[in-house]
Symmetry: C2
Subunit: 233 residues, 2 copies
Amino acid sequence: MIKPKAFMFDVFGTIVDWREGVATVAKRFFNQKNIKQNPYAFADSWRAKYQPAMQRIRSGNRGFVALDTLHRENLNLVLAELDLSDEFNEQEKQSLNRAWEQLPPWTDCVAGLTAIKQNAIIAPCSNGSIALMTRLARFGNLPWDCILGAEIAQTYKPNPDAYLKSVAALGLSPHEIVMVAAHNDDLVAASNCGLKTAFIPRQKEHGEDQTIDLEPTGDWDYIIKTINELSTL
Amino acid sequence: MIKPKAFMFDVFGTIVDWREGVATVAKRFFNQKNIKQNPYAFADSWRAKYQPAMQRIRSGNRGFVALDTLHRENLNLVLAELDLSDEFNEQEKQSLNRAWEQLPPWTDCVAGLTAIKQNAIIAPCSNGSIALMTRLARFGNLPWDCILGAEIAQTYKPNPDAYLKSVAALGLSPHEIVMVAAHNDDLVAASNCGLKTAFIPRQKEHGEDQTIDLEPTGDWDYIIKTINELSTL
């Protein structure tokens, strides 16, 4: 197998712990306002609206808008469902929406990415926007070479263009790039586009009772436990 | 004046010495092939075809193509003019085209950008592609947070969209961003889009006999001698 020229990474779940990060920011607000709401359940409910919102864009029923906008719209829905809409003014809602820019990396990521970067290009291929990925990188010291993914492709994963336009933006061929993800369905789509694949289980992404993506379910090129393992390919 | 939230930088001439970088790679080829050609004059001739090639795209006479492609087309033109076309095979021409990915930063840039990055987002807003800017950053250790500019805007500076779509990709307003350039015309365009402006003279960009952009010719917000000066705004 040829030495990869670039590695592209899923981010939410694969590189950062979105559930812990969103819950941390939400908890701060709930405490200030004396709201009795489990912040992890809140994070889960907010995230549950992620795929349906993107699906309207992937299917062509809505033009592309950045994920920040979808998160903000979904926040309104979640607050309404929990009867919390009146507890937050507009500025507070905007501030709460920035929870997605403050997600802690899993402990192996910064050292692992730094090691890979010595010999290959590293970039997120996430559904997050350039603005979101940029601030998340600054928050967690993620040493990306550039930001690829949904915004430059103007569509969301797992649509093929989200991968293929990211590949094209590097001036490389799909087989020269490894897509790294904790989600089997992301790797199915990347593999169908001709990319190499690496699966890294994140068995607490959804908390203690996680039932999906505990194991690889496809014949991926690499199965790893820490990001650093990719630095010696 | 408010504290800037981001700084966007012109790159060719402002951050890197394209003339020295292109001449260095060209000289290596010329020596190997025993070609009697001044490599600096060669770099100047190649660069002279830069604006006309972009102008066809800015004016709408051609769809957007990345700068790497324009450089490659322009290389054919320059080699033909110098009667050197038959001296290079296709692989060598591609390799020579990658001279644009190997341009040394001016000596103040890496430390200056690193200092600014502590408190604000830093990104190129260049006509170079994502692929080109990414490899140039790796070559020169430029610590960009993300890559903005022509490719994400799908048009070339000084068209307004090249600035405004870069601003939008950060989720900021123009007045929150400083555009930094060694070229007065770049700052005219950025200023017209509502960005703040910083001029840094690079009086050897075009060699010893440079006649343009020796001094600021507009009422720019900041006039600096080294990039580091922007870190204390």
